[in-house]
Symmetry: C2
Subunit: 233 residues, 2 copies
């Protein structure tokens, strides 16, 4: 919930908290005024300048703090999903040896991850709203920072997929590319998930389907058709 424990100076923290809250409600980091922000933080307008040069600097600070709190949990969640689905000792069995087992396991991990991911989104909406919003928002500085961040997420994911053996062998470029596509899809869908509560099941399914499609498609293109054919036989 509170992403800003690291921020020691109280005024700074109050401002960042207020900004995050305002961003979630008005839903843009620069849609509110400096004075409005100060008012919400219970501080004098000028205090802002003690900590930030401008709104970009505030935005970067928030993003950086939030991501510190989110990145690792997301990885943990993926591993958690993986472990919950692995029949004991089967980790070592390669796709070549037992396509079917690995395929089924991959689907399980996939579904579990998606479910956990959206639960996580649900309990941390502010972080996702601000992130996705500003990814295409009005500040070039924030856009750039968030694009870099998406890269990091994708990189984490690629690494995990490899370590957890969730896909047949893929060259690392393709793997990263697929991971990036999955990241984009998941973050995008997280907005729908937040905003359309009545469609949450559907969105969950949609996300799962996209991931399966992307991963299986990439497996096919990497020359693993026969492998998949075996898995599905």
């Amino acid at each position: 919930m509170s992403y800003l424990k690291n921020v020691k100076v109280e005024g700074k923290r109050l401002l960042m908290e207020a900004a995050l809250k305002l961003a979630v409600n008005t839903r843009s980091l620069d849609a509110f005024s400096l004075r409005e922000l100060a008012r919400n933080a219970g501080l004098n307008p000028n205090t802002f300048y003690r900590h930030f040069k401008d709104f970009d600097e505030l935005g970067l600070a928030i993003i950086s703090e939030v991501m510190d709190q989110i990145r690792q949990p997301l990885r943990d969640l993926r591993r958690e999903a993986a472990e919950s689905a692995v029949p004991e000792g089967s980790l070592s069995i390669s796709w070549q040896e037992n396509p079917r087992l690995n395929f089924v396991r991959s689907l399980q991990v996939n579904n579990a991850t998606v479910e956990l991911f959206f639960k996580f989104v649900e309990s941390n909406p502010e972080a996702f709203i601000v992130g996705v919003r500003e990814l295409h928002g009005s500040s070039p500085v924030l856009r750039k920072a968030l694009r870099a961040l998406m890269k990091d997420f994708a990189h984490d994911m690629a690494e995990d997929i490899e370590v957890l053996g969730l896909l047949p062998k893929l060259d690392s470029a393709s793997l990263l590319s697929v991971s990036e596509a999955i990241s984009r899809e998941m973050f995008q869908l997280s907005m729908n998930y937040i905003e359309e509560p009545e469609r949450r099941d559907e969105i969950c399914q949609q996300a799962g389907a996209s991931i399966v499609n992307l991963t299986m498609g990439s497996a096919v293109l990497a020359g693993h058709v026969e492998l998949l054919a075996d898995a599905l036989r």
Copy 2:
């Protein structure tokens, strides 16, 4: 280029044009003031109220006009790509009869479409910037409108895929779901395409890969593995 030919009243058109331009530069539809808008349109501030109740109404008007000008061209472009890739008379040959031919053709159409799409984006950046921006922007009204619009695009795409025989038989739910995912990916990547000119080739490839992955993955999941295996043999 000019999306607003339909708007007859001059003041209204001037306001919409100014808003579109401002949105592209400041990159948010409500990041500027009513007076700033009027100034850019060369009109009295009050003229705004003659045509719009508030900024949402302006936004909706712009979106609606822009999309009228964009939706059909996008479809044409897809058909154009399809026709350019079809060996004469081969349209009638089903995936079952000749998997390989259809697979190759599908890839060709795919690549051509992606290329044409990004060319289109390049020559209509305003439309895409505003669209993607406001899809996750600060106005719930615009968000909702743009989500509906994305649905329409996806629906068009699904219809075209079916008519043009770009995929092996798929139940219509899956087809729509895949089309939606493709739409999201394409619109998302269109932003990167605009903002990172030095990576355009890479982005183009990325888009192509995602589409192939999504479509082929869905084919696999729909039980067409053997078909694809044949195509790739």
